[in-house]
């Protein structure tokens, strides 16, 4: 099961760390055939410079249905980054996208890719 553990770091370049994936579980069934049902996973409490962050992720099968912020400092970049995490996670899975960026897609990998599905459908 995937967890999202957000933490926030600021570098001189304005680069912000927004969250952390759990490594993909091996041999997970495809999303449509998953029978995992709903599950709620609570992330660990992460101490960051501005305070403590803890989130809860609600899964529907293998898809993220919601991200709940249980605890977060109300200052600095965290206030901005946590809603961003929630929005990004939810929208990335539901957005009607126009194209997909990913490292050099071989012609073989293309056949089963999201991009091939997009190329095959009409314009939105």
């Amino acid at each position: 099961m995937r967890r999202a553990i957000p933490a926030v770091l600021l570098s001189a370049t304005g680069l912000v760390m927004v969250w952390q994936f759990e490594p993909a579980a091996p041999a997970v069934a495809s999303p449509s055939s998953a029978h995992a049902g709903d599950a709620t996973v609570t992330g660990t409490r992460e101490a960051i410079r501005q305070g403590t962050v803890q989130v809860q992720v609600v899964f529907s099968g293998t898809r993220i249905a919601d991200v709940v912020v249980l605890q977060a400092p109300d200052t600095g970049p965290t206030r901005h980054a946590l809603p961003l995490l929630r929005e990004m996670t939810l929208r990335a899975q539901s957005a009607q996208i126009d194209t997909v960026t990913g490292a050099t897609m071989t012609s073989q990998a293309y056949r089963s890719s999201l991009q091939a599905a997009i190329d095959g459908r009409g314009s939105r």
């Binding site: 680069l15 996208i97 126009d98 990913g102 012609s107």
Partner: protein, 247 residues
């Protein structure tokens, strides 16, 4: 109107929204240009200009203007990345692919634009040029492939008149080498760069991936580059100006 052709070993998709028969012909010309680039610059074709230069069959004054330009871009990014990116690794053949792709596709887009096309999106093996808007008032929505799950996205970017390139090793396993060590790059799972043109986006993404852990901060400091990166610990980094789609 949509097109897909397989060139240089990857698919190239064109989504043209302001479609007229004349512009459709321009798209055909753009594909012809990419096929020509493949013949001239492929390090995998023994008779290509790149291979002939590599074997010493071409003197410095016989190199075409295009190849000279590509080699100059390679040198520029070798310098900027402190040697992490290299077109010619020790004991290996000249391979300017990382620069050729961005340069060739950007040239194709520039030609389309010069012919009057305004609203189009080109995806060349996962590298994107998004021109104008798909429908008036909306940005192009560019999904970023999840580094672990090919069928899922980990972010969506909203872009207009920008290029997006991603460098990772999930499809050609370890093909990006850190030129400073000669070993496959590690430290990042994937890095995505948004920039005004694909030459900048592509070369910055490749160089930053080759650098490893310090790549995202380096790329974020490059002029007019926005960064989305997932490191080997699966931490996600964004530059604060990244055009995320959520509204």
């Amino acid at each position: 109107m949509k097109w897909v052709e397989h060139i240089m070993g990857f698919p190239v998709s064109v989504d043209l929204r302001d479609s007229t028969p004349r512009l459709a012909e321009e798209v055909d010309r753009a594909f012809a240009w990419l096929h020509e680039v493949d013949l001239r610059f492929s390090p995998f074709r023994a008779d290509s200009e790149v291979c002939r230069l590599d074997r010493g069959e071409l003197g410095p004054d016989q190199v075409s203007t295009d190849l000279r330009h590509v080699l100059a871009l390679c040198e520029l990014y070798e310098r900027r990345s402190g040697g992490a990116f290299r077109a010619r690794l020790p004991d290996r053949h000249l391979d300017p692919c990382a620069v050729v792709k961005g340069w060739a596709v950007q040239h194709a887009a520039d030609t389309l634009r010069a012919a009057g096309a305004r609203r189009f999106c080109i995806n060349a093996g996962g590298d994107v040029i998004a021109s104008g808007e798909p429908v008036p008032g909306d940005p192009w929505l560019v999904g970023v492939r999840h580094p672990d799950r090919p069928q899922e996205l980990c972010a969506v970017l909203a872009v207009r008149d920008q290029a997006v390139a991603t460098s990772a090793n999930y499809e050609r396993g370890g093909h990006i080498v850190d030129g400073r060590t000669g070993h496959p790059a590690h430290g990042l799972l994937s890095i995505t760069i948004v920039a005004p043109d694909l030459i900048t986006a592509d070369t910055t993404a490749t160089a930053a991936f080759a650098m490893g852990a310090e790549g995202p901060a380096w790329a974020a400091a490059e002029p007019r580059c926005q960064v989305f990166a997932v490191d080997a610990s699966r931490r996600v980094f964004c530059s604060s100006g990244l055009p995320m789609a959520w509204g």
